[in-house]
């Protein structure tokens, strides 16, 4: 069956596909950590463009907006924590490069062999008029369990992130049994002083 994508859409998918993989490779090639972050952003934006060409407007916009913000935060963390953020002093920070390359290439080959040998089913059903409406009705109806699990997962992430990022909690202040009369604070003041 002929694809119902237009010639322009197929060209866009091909160009953006090459761009996304090239940007993904650039993440691990460039020296500057800031450039690596923006290369990853370019890869995400290229995938968002492909999703847009595939009629998934909502998911494409969510991917583009979310990843832009995420990579902006990541750039800050890169510059905070990496020892060579600007890449002015080229250094390789890899371990087991050969084994990793073999594993990555092996996974790619296995997937490609599967992709090109499977007899993919042909579609004989109609396309929905609005993919966003289809998704919205699914997550508020037949697929609501997915949204419930996602909600609980995100809430657990908020709690766990806060616990991990807290420098000093109540156990640091009042001891492992919380029975200390006076909190062990580095400076005076605070609760129960």
């Amino acid at each position: 069956m002929l694809s119902d994508l237009s010639g322009w859409a197929i060209t866009a998918v091909a160009v953006l596909g090459v761009l996304s993989v090239a940007a993904g490779v650039a993440v691990f090639v460039v020296d500057s950590m800031a450039r690596a972050t923006f290369a990853l952003l370019a890869s995400f934006l290229a995938v968002a463009g492909i999703l847009l060409a595939l009629d998934l407007v909502y998911l494409a916009v969510v991917t583009a907006l979310m990843m832009t913000i995420e990579m902006a935060i990541m750039a800050v963390f890169m510059i905070m924590f990496m020892m060579n953020p600007a890449g002015l002093m080229p250094m390789t920070m890899v371990h087991n490069a050969k084994g990793s390359a073999v594993t990555g290439a092996g996974a790619f080959v296995v997937l490609v062999v599967g992709i090109w040998t499977i007899d993919w089913p042909t579609r004989d059903t109609s396309r929905p008029a609005d993919s966003t409406r289809q998704l919205g009705e699914a997550i508020m109806g037949s697929h609501m369990l997915v949204m419930l699990v996602i909600g609980i997962g995100l809430f657990a992430t908020i709690l766990a992130g806060t616990v991990l990022a807290t420098a000093r909690g109540r156990y640091d202040r009042f001891g492992p049994r919380l029975d200390s009369q006076r909190p062990d604070d580095p400076v005076s003041g605070g609760l129960r002083r």
Binding site: G17, S43, M82, W120, T122, S131, L135
Partner: protein, 105 residues
């Protein structure tokens, strides 16, 4: 061009992203770069999910829901990864995974 060929091309791109991301996640030494590798793998899942919806089952919302789940996994991975990075740096002033090998379970 047949729909099957376009699907195979898009899925090959997704496989490329997953392969590159796997290489990065396994080879990089700093926690933030490992997270970038994992993000690339999830980027491939996003693309494969979108292609599966468009070419295989557009009448069903399942592939779209899978893409939403992949996006949420990305957000959770970023949040927890940065929280672990902050906690680890605060405890040891380090950002390399090799120096935390004593935390292996």
């Amino acid at each position: 061009m047949t729909a099957e060929l376009v699907l195979q091309i898009v899925l090959t791109v997704a496989a490329g992203l997953i392969g590159v991301g796997l290489f990065g996640a396994l080879s990089q030494q700093t926690i933030v770069m490992v997270m970038m590798g994992l993000e690339l793998v999830l980027n491939g899942v996003l693309l494969a999910g979108g292609a599966a919806w468009y070419f295989l089952a557009p009448e069903l919302p399942d592939a779209q829901v899978l893409v939403v789940v992949a996006l949420v996994v990305m957000a959770v991975e970023m949040a927890m990864g940065f929280a672990v990075t902050v906690a680890f740096y605060r405890a040891r002033q380090l950002d390399m995974i090799d120096m935390a090998s004593d935390l292996r379970g």
